[in-house]
């Protein structure tokens, strides 16, 4: 995109498309969709200090675009592709340009479940009590120095792209400096991500090393519990935890009492978590 290109928002040349195409540069103003237009595709656009707050987008996609200092507070994305392969037509599979969101705010922003994040990079963005759940298509997304607060539920973050590395031009996704100290993690996986390169822990959690050894160390405690159902649930959860830690994070994990078994009585969960945390030196206080 040329920095001097004037901003334009026009209907797509593909007649079947409902969303309009935005190109060029827009600065220091509010973004408004024309009446009756449900969505927008930003194609090689640059948006600086643009206010998207409170807007409901039936479709929002971005291809090779930059968003800097933009405010998405209270926005709703019903269908979302933040780093689309192409703005229209058929993707050539040769290159997949990245879209970048830098210093943007997503406060109580509603991301659609199963959003395709695509090839996108978030730098110093704030995700404040945004609805981030069931975001499993994040395989090419990069996050640097972002701040997450509120509940994150059923999300996978990926340190390696699952496929299309050649088109992406990289074999690793950048994922460093992210602050999770005010986040509530519920079924969140960090796959092949350096956990020590983030800010931890969220309340009640601990970043722990030697997960497999800890599991072995606490199993005798589990076997002293009188109720077989509780022993069974704990064993299952511990095996799951150890398996994931070895496979994804070099035997490290961010652990909280629910990881000991969400269906265990709270007293047992806490007892087991304390034993688990205390079996060896944790690398971050819980």
């Amino acid at each position: 995109m040329s920095a001097s290109e004037r901003f334009s928002l026009r209907p797509s040349p593909e007649e079947w498309r409902r969303d309009w195409i935005a190109r060029g540069e827009l600065r220091d103003q509010r973004f408004e969709l024309p009446p009756g237009v449900p969505g927008v595709c930003f194609d090689r656009a640059r948006l600086v200090n643009v206010d998207f707050s409170g807007t409901r987008f039936a479709d929002f996609s971005s291809h090779s675009s930059e968003f800097e200092g933009c405010d998405f507070t209270g926005a709703t994305f019903e269908h979302l592709s933040m780093g689309a392969t192409a703005a229209g037509g058929t993707w050539d599979r040769v290159s997949w340009p990245q879209s970048v969101f830098r210093d943007c705010v997503f406060r109580r922003t509603r991301f659609a479940p199963l959003t395709s994040f695509g090839n996108v990079r978030f730098e110093r963005c704030v995700f404040d009590r945004a609805r981030l759940r069931q975001q499993t298509f994040t395989m090419q997304a990069e996050f640097l120095d972002c701040v997450f607060s509120g509940r994150l539920r059923e999300i996978n973050f990926w340190g390696r792209p699952m496929d299309e590395q050649a088109a992406l031009g990289r074999e690793r996704n950048a994922f460093t400096g992210n602050d999770f100290t005010a986040a509530e993690l519920d079924d969140v996986a960090f796959r092949h991500i350096d956990l020590h390169a983030q800010r931890w822990p969220p309340p009640g959690c601990a970043l722990l090393d030697r997960v497999t050894a800890r599991v072995r160390a606490v199993l005798p405690l589990v076997e002293t519990w009188p109720v077989e159902k509780h022993r069974e649930k704990a064993r299952f959860s511990l095996e799951f935890l150890a398996g994931n830690a070895v496979e994804r994070n070099d035997d490290h994990a961010v652990v909280s009492p629910p990881d000991m078994g969400r269906r265990l009585p709270p007293a047992l969960r806490e007892e087991l978590f304390e034993a688990f945390r205390g079996t060896s030196s944790s690398t971050s206080p819980g």
Partner: protein, 130 residues
Amino acid sequence: MGALVDYFTADSDPSARRALSAGPGAVDLPYVDCKGWLDELDTLVAELSGRDLSEFGDAETVVGDDEGPALERMASETVEALAAVDDARLREYAEEELLDEFEVEQFTALRDLARTAIRLNQGMYCWMCP
């Protein structure tokens, strides 16, 4: 495609089994289609009621294996706690979780289904079809 998941009410396990092959809608049992937006009912009920998940009993398998459709009967504590959720709490939860109108309608329908089960002294079941 994802698994089909319907919650429904029936007066007995044999009645519920009629839904096994084609789902509760096919045999005119009242149901709520939960495909794609609800994984575990008791987790939702724990959040809505503010109770710990361990307070709810496990769902009982009525029919099921790993390959075909399956039926589970929800624990009575789960159904009672869901039925007790009032509209104000549903609205509060919708605000907390940034639910959209469709989701609020679905959660309300599910709560009302639990109330129907309690009122008619029936069971609440989950039909799953992979």
